[in-house]
């Protein structure tokens, strides 16, 4: 068996690992040790963004991170050669902060930072161009502080030019040991990841935990390149996809991954400036193919000739780790996956599931402060799943529902109902984001009409039931020749509500509902109300059809004769003239 051509590369990486495990870590010049008691900064200082090392090679506009940093010093006068995205490592800044008793031990701090630096180096190798140092502004380094950070706190201080990824790690020392927390900030999508936290008992485990948390928080970036040939899927280029991490657990893409989508509209005149950044909520890319094995001739498997199963496998000498294929899942038409234009960057972010479940909050589209409480939501793994696979949820008092992660189905579909109406059909990836908000239209007016029609229908049922009972009594009375009982039964039948009364009730339901819908300019509700009313009116018309009434009158007439009573004056109603 032939050795793959990547073997020398792997050997080189292993060698690099061995050298990285240098027992004498070098201090980070960008992270000077702070004496204990230094006032903590709530937000990063303006100079916090200054990278301690020169910026890596820049790429032309049109790809993420292509704009040279405005504040970073440029060391070379000549432009750097263009490095493709798949070959470009991530520019990562790792800031470590401490709280508790750790800040009083400079040596310990230094040791921990060095261990973290070494750990990331071992884990990611050349995939990361990492700058690990102790934070000068992120103090105190607590989990709470980390969770309270918002994008606004970081957006100005950490522009895209400074770094691509900012990893904030807090090490909190308490009585029970150390609590290590981590959160990632991506400067291109300007979004903080959810925080992850872990407890360790000794300082020896801090660096290991920090690296693992950093790995779990790290969100690889993919750039949409083109649709597949059959247009069914989308193809993406993975940043640093060609730079394999030495640690397999740090692989950027794994089976079952779900990508979140973003759009970046760059300024046409100033390509380095983001004009519009849009997060496409509830729009996911489900990874279907990655690490594709390409043929020796550079022909993809799709284009390769068909071979019989028993035939020997074609020689494979190259795995394309930089390209990823995925299926777009969205609740409707979204501006993703198209051509988009030169200045539009269509980015997908791979995010590991952060929790075992997510909470989805349903709110009114026009009033996001008003949760949709007790809304019926069906969860299905696929759009065409059979009804048996349906899991029914009801939103709680906060309008939220909890969706558990299903390893077999990373994404699912949520069908939100309001009465008989499907309010929305949305894809969702549980566990990716701990909380998500979904805005749905207001269906209260239509639902109220539905309730009123229920009651009207009940009255109709009552009437039908009573009529059946009285007819039965009339038949028995007729058979027994009991004239009085027969007359009573007929009188009772005549006293039952007539079609006109039901029509009036329908109008009484329709008019105020339509007025309400008009008042809030809800044309959809109006249309649906009309539809409901029309259906109900048809049911009423069907029940009170002239033919049926004639038939009933004839039957009563026969019964009357059988009972020995004279025929009624005008029993059968006149058949109405057909409407044009």
């Amino acid at each position: 068996m032939k050795l793959p051509w990547t073997l020398p590369l792997i050997l080189l990486v292993v060698l690099a690992h061995a050298t990285a495990q240098d027992p004498a870590p070098t201090p980070n010049p960008a992270a000077p040790a702070q004496p204990a008691g230094t006032p903590a900064a709530a937000t990063p200082p303006a100079d916090a963004a200054k990278p301690s090392s020169p910026a890596p090679q820049q790429t032309p506009a049109g790809t993420p991170g292509s704009v040279p940093p405005t504040t970073a010093p440029v060391t070379a006068a000549t432009p750097d050669p263009v490095v493709p995205l798949q070959d470009r490592p991530y520019r990562v800044t790792v800031e470590v902060a401490f709280s508790g008793s750790v800040p009083t031990h400079p040596h310990l701090r230094k040791t921990l930072v060095n261990q973290i630096r070494a750990g990331f180096k071992r884990m990611y190798g050349s995939m990361w161009d990492a700058n690990v140092h102790e934070s000068a502004w992120f103090r105190p380094g607590t989990q709470l502080h980390l969770e309270r950070l918002t994008e606004n706190d970081l957006r100005t201080a950490w522009p895209e030019t400074a770094t691509e990824k900012l990893l904030l790690i807090s090490v909190e020392n308490g009585q029970a040991g150390y609590t290590v927390s981590c959160r990632e900030y991506d400067t291109r999508i300007e979004e903080l990841s959810p925080s992850l936290s872990r407890s360790v008992f000794t300082s020896q485990g801090v660096a290991h935990a920090a690296c693992e948390l950093g790995r779990d928080c790290f969100r690889p970036i993919l750039l949409y390149s083109s649709p597949t040939i059959d247009k069914a899927e989308l193809e993406f280029v993975l940043q640093a996809g060609n730079l394999l991490p030495p640690d397999p657990s740090a692989a950027q893409i794994a089976k079952g991954d779900v990508l979140r989508t973003f759009l970046r509209q760059m300024d046409r005149k100033n390509p380095g400036k983001v004009k519009i950044l849009q997060r496409l909520d509830l729009c996911y890319i489900q990874v279907t193919d990655f690490n594709r094995i390409l043929g020796t001739a550079g022909v993809s498997q799709d284009d390769a000739p068909v071979t019989l199963p028993e035939a020997p496998e074609p020689s494979t000498s190259f795995t394309d780790t930089a390209r990823v294929r995925g299926l777009l899942l969205s609740h409707g038409p979204v501006p993703f996956g198209g051509k988009g234009g030169r200045n539009l960057q269509q980015i997908a972010v791979r995010q590991r599931p952060m929790a075992q479940s997510s909470r989805v909050k349903l709110v009114l589209r026009d009033r996001p402060d008003r949760p949709l409480v007790c809304i019926r939501v069906d969860q299905v793994p696929k759009r065409d799943s059979p009804p048996e696979q349906r899991v029914r949820h009801l939103t709680d008092r906060s309008g939220e529902l909890a969706l558990s992660v299903d390893p077999a189905n990373p994404t699912c579909w949520l069908y939100a109902y309001s009465g008989s109406t499907l309010l929305a059909r949305i894809p969702y990836a549980p566990g990716v984001m701990p909380k998500e908000t979904v805005k749905l239209p207001d269906d209260s007016i239509r639902l109220g009409v539905e309730g009123d029609l229920y009651l009207l229908r009940d009255e109709l049922v009552d009437m039908v039931a009573e009529k059946a009972v009285y007819m039965s009594i009339a038949k028995k009375a007729s058979a027994a020749g009991d004239k009085a009982a027969f007359e009573n039964a007929v009188t009772s039948i005549d006293a039952l509500p007539a079609k006109q009364q039901f029509g009036d009730r329908l109008d009484a339901i329709r008019s105020p509902a339509l007025q309400k819908a008009d008042a809030i300019r809800n044309a959809t509700a109006k249309r649906r109300i009309e539809s409901l009313i029309t259906k109900m009116r048809e049911s009423v018309d069907k029940f009170f059809a002239a033919e049926k009434r004639v038939k009933e009158a004839d039957e009563l007439q026969k019964l009357r004769q059988a009972a020995g009573l004279p025929p009624a004056a005008s029993a059968a109603p006149q058949t109405p003239a057909p409407t044009p």
Partner: protein, 890 residues
Amino acid sequence: MFCTRFLFNLSLSLSRSGGLPCSPRRGTAVGVLALVAALINCLCNPAAADEKVTRTELPKLTELPIPEAEALLRADADDKEFDWVIIKAANEADRRVAVVNPIFPRPDTLAKQDAEYKKLEASRPQNAKERETRAARLKSLKKLIFTLPGDLTEYAVPVEQVDQIMYFEDLMLLRVDKLLEINDFRTAYELLLRVETEIPGWDKSTPRFERLLMVEAAERAQAGEIYAALAMLDEVFQRNSKNPELPDRMGAIVGPMIDAAAAAEDFRKTRYLIGRIQKLFPQHPLVQATSSRLLQSSTTLLEQATSEFAARKFASAAERARRAELVWPTEGNSRAAYTQYFARHQILRVGINEFNGQSIHPAPLESRERLKELVQASLFEPSSADELTYFRSGFFEIWDPADLGREVLFTLRETRPAWQSQQLFTAAAVADAIGHRIDPQNPLYDTRLASFVSEVAVRSPSQLRIRFSRVPLSIESLLRFPVTRTARNDVPPADAATDAAATQTSPATPNTASPDAPSAPSQPVVVSTRFVQTAANAQESRWVRAIPEPDGFDAGKYHIAEIQERHFADRANMIQAFIRGDIDCIPHLLPWEIESFKASSHQVLPYALPMTHIIVFNPLSDRITNAQMRRALSFAVNRDGILRSTILRDPEARHGRPTSAAWHLASYATEPRQKPPAFNLRLAYALRFAAESQLKIAELTKLTEAARAQATKDKINFDSEVFRKNTKVDYIKLPRLRFVVEPDPLSTAAAERIVTYWQKIGFEVDVIKSDREGQPLADTEWDLCYRQLRMEEPLLELWPVLTNDPTLDMKRLQLFPDWMRQELVGLDYAASFVDAQEKLFRIHNHIAAQAFLIPLWEVDDYAVFRKNVSGLPPKLMSTYHNVERWIIRP
């Protein structure tokens, strides 16, 4: 057999006047009568009287037996009474008896005749005619005139010849004497009553009455029927207080009873028995001896109470003083001491006649709410109610809304009145309590409150600010919970007991602290306690103030310090105990008892809200299939009939009315146009049929789909219409329903009546009575539930009733269609009172139309208190409404 020949001895110096019988038209026959011998067979053979004899003899008195009681009674009933005229003879043993028809005037006929003779003899007639009449009358008065049974002929015999007349009543009394000898009291009494009817107050019958009573009393006493014997002796005393046997007899009967009662420490009985003798014979030696003995015991007890009071052991001092009073009523200085000790530690004794223990009933019992209120002091509590319910707070001085109601600043009370039994809290403590209920991780998490509260800020130890994410319509009803804190290892026992009690009061509340783990480290415990349970057993539960009232007040300033709930298995015994003064209060009167107690001297207080009876459906039951079924059940209940006959037992229905809602009809939430569901069995039957048909249609559809799938698989043609026509699904029936009823006899009786109506229209229903111990039934074990409840704020309390769950879990709303769910949810979003009322009106209409619950009736509720309980509110919101301010006078 009383059949004797009566003979008239012709040899006697008697002659017959004219040889002919006197004509009845002429009045009395005058002259010497010839004695006619007549043989009279009184009862057996009347024809024998017609026997013609020429010479017969009268029977001797000694030979003539006293007629039997039966014969006497029969003769009396047949109006064939007779008297014996005893004729003198030389020898007393030879006296003869003539059995004659009743002689008048009677009794003492001869004496009366003699008196008339003397009077007439002394008179002076005015003329000849009068003289003639007088002479004739004088002559007749010298004779005793009588008739014989079966013979209208009048006979006369000289008065001198008559030894005595033994009247029919005399014969009865003679028979009574005989009967008393054989203890046949019933017959003797009957005979005596006849005699008393004929001759009221006859001096001959009175001693026999006494004798009868004395003999029967002895007999009853011997048989152990002491009180019956005493009642007879009382009767003897009433008839003849000078009866010499009576004091001894009384002493003989009551003496042992007094000794036994005193030995059993039943001093009430002892005093009663002493009083019973004392009433008749004040100087009876038994009275003197026993009274002095009890007085001595009482004095000793009171002295012990005094020493305990001095040692500040108020509870035991009061207990001992009560006991001293029970042994023998205190007087003078002792009375003053007793009053002081009593007032310092007042005890309210409440009679409870309900199922005691953990019932299997799946819903919270309204009757148990009293214990919750007794234990927990909530931030806000209802104070009164009419259309609306009004609240007060024992913790907050002021609560001012700001920012259009989105923010409320609460100012806490900094001083506590002496009567208040709960401690003061700081704003931080109250904030903690609110925090427990808005923290999803906390067992007390309240989703509704959490959805309203966005921020709680403590501004100072006495000021608290709550910011709401949306404006609640009623802050007070939202904050109806006690102050809690997270339990630590140093939880005092009182707190633990309170927690257990609080849990016990609300068994259906899963969020409340479990009694099994009361001291779990993170478990919140109630700290705003009002009373704390100190003892509990099957017969009695005791609760004392969490914070006692301070010393140094005048005796009249103290309030109830302890509440004792006494459980009675029998309601009659409870009422008896109330009347005897063993208990001070009956918290709930049955409807037919209300008027009786109102007519008495006791205090009968109404509850501000009536008790509403409803039937709720299990929201998770799969047997309540559809709306038609629910509506059929609702229409089949004869509300008015059951209410009048079973619940109220009053045809006028003065204290109850059929209802259309789960809340009281006077509430602002009641849609005035909504009437109680009509009783319409025909419609109910039709709806039941419709419900069953729907099940059949569903089954048919299912079978059709399966057949279609099979046909597709087999690649054969399938005609669904033909299949549906040919397929019979008659095996589909409505499921059997399980109807669980509160552990209350009244509810059970009503439920059984309801079930009979349901059975009439074809429902199969099993009644599950909850009067047995066990865990509440799981949702899989019941379908319908009979409940009594008192809804103070429909806006907030309707949801838990409909879902039978206090945690407001959305999953329990699955029974309801989406529009109904949204209407229920919308109640929390009511922006104003008018908005809330409109929403409740709408829900009221929809509940009635779809029968989401079956409203039955509402019954006015009353409690009765003894006169010595004061400080009561005019209308009770609950059993222990404002109980800290009640006072009991000795």
